[in-house]
């Protein structure tokens, strides 16, 4: 029986692991990988105390810091499948078939790419539908691609595609761009880039690979088709909370509702921090700080409820 199980290996989970170990809480951390979503970033310039570091390097440093701690059990390469309430706390099952019991849980499982949910998206996954523009943009040399989504990650995907693709469409769902205006101004000046407003993708078309999309042109109120070789989907994220079932309260977009002062969820014994929560601002530093706050509160709770 553990006192604490941390779910997730991003900046939140790792910070929590370090603090839990220093507080001598009997802890296990379950993580599929270490480093979190920014692992794929080419350059991170806002991790406090470090002027510039690649996402991979930061991930490796975080993992090394965690592994240097005493008395914490690290269950890596495993994803949590289910959490159930028990008499004394919770039972956590992994997809690999491991079962662990614990008094408290910190959910720091982050979020993942939101999918379009249109026909063709699954079929052409990896066949022109791209989820990691930094990784795969170089494969579209001389090709025509579209980036769906005009938040910051959409604008960055356009920036990733420009050096390779011959034409880059930016599909904006509404009539304005949500992402950073400076970045937008820069990319929209590039002669390769064409910004299209009021575009709702209906279907991804193709045979062996993507050949185009069918979309609603809201301005013309018409369904149209556009020839494309690649579709980079960047329409935000969804929290990784499925394993919790109905144990804790979520908001309208399935993010865990927490008390900002303590990071407690609606379920006594379960805390949450980072991108999985309904709190605003998705940042490595914030996930780390909020997860530490949670562990300190868990420590108080464990001492009060011996």
């Amino acid at each position: 029986m553990y006192d604490l199980i941390i779910i997730g290996g991003g900046p939140g989970g790792i910070s929590a692991g370090i603090y839990a170990s220093r507080k001598k809480i009997k802890t296990a951390i379950i993580a599929e990988t270490f480093g979190g979503q920014s692992t794929v970033s080419a350059d991170i310039q806002n991790w406090v105390g470090t002027e510039s570091i690649s996402g991979l390097e930061l991930a490796q440093k975080l993992e090394a810091h965690l592994r240097a701690q005493q008395g914490i059990d690290i269950v890596d390469g495993e994803r949590v499948a289910k959490v159930e309430k028990t008499d004394g706390g919770f039972k956590v099952e992994t997809q690999g078939g491991k079962t662990l019991e614990t008094r408290t849980i910190l959910v720091a499982s982050g979020s993942r790419h939101r999918r379009l949910g249109v026909p063709g998206e699954d079929k052409f996954d990896g066949k022109g539908v791209v989820w990691c523009s930094t990784c795969d943009a170089p494969l579209f040399g001389g090709k025509t691609v579209a980036v769906v989504g005009a938040g910051n990650s959409g604008l960055e995907a356009v920036r990733d595609a420009i050096p390779y693709a011959s034409k880059v469409y930016l599909f904006v769902r509404g009539d304005s761009v949500r992402g950073d205006q400076q970045t937008f101004e820069k990319i929209s000046k590039d002669p390769k880039v064409e910004v299209m407003y009021g575009v709702q993708v209906q279907e991804i078309l193709g045979d062996q690979f993507v050949t185009g999309v069918k979309y609603i042109d809201a301005k013309a109120n018409a369904v149209k088709e556009l020839k494309l070789d690649g579709v980079f989907v960047e329409i935000g994220s969804v929290p990784n909370v499925e394993f919790l079932g109905d144990l804790a309260k979520k908001n309208d977009v399935n993010a865990l509702v927490v008390d900002y002062a303590t990071q407690q969820t609606s379920q006594p014994g379960i805390w949450a921090a980072g991108d999985v929560t309904a709190l605003p601002y998705r940042q490595n530093n914030i996930s780390a700080g909020d997860a530490i706050k949670a562990v300190l509160n868990i420590n108080d709770y464990l001492h009060k409820n011996k």
Binding site: T39, V40, A42, S54, G55, L56, G77, G126, K127, G128, V130, C132, T134, C135, D136, A137, P138, L139, F140, G141, D160, Y164, Q208, F209, G230
Partner: protein, 79 residues
């Protein structure tokens, strides 16, 4: 046992870097093709994997798309 390992990668792909570091750590020799620059290698990768995404790793003819440490360990007989 020596394995015949080829990785198809792009210079910006973090998962490719992770895979290469994994090979180095385990003393696995590999051939690398940069499919951003080498179009013939890109076509070869598409032929083998029927998809466009990196990394693609060929271990003795067995094709892996993406970096999954457990799968690679299994294929290389490391676990």
């Amino acid at each position: 046992m020596t394995h015949n390992v080829t990785i198809y990668s792009t210079p910006t792909c973090v998962y490719c870097k992770m895979a290469k570091e994994f090979f180095k750590k385990n003393g696995v020799k590999y051939t690398e093709h940069d499919v951003a620059a080498d179009e013939a290698a890109r076509n070869e990768m598409v032929d083998k994997s029927h998809q466009l995404g990196v990394p693609v790793i060929d271990i003795d003819g067995e094709i892996h798309v993406g970096f999954n440490r457990q799968d690679l360990e299994q294929s290389l007989g490391l676990r």
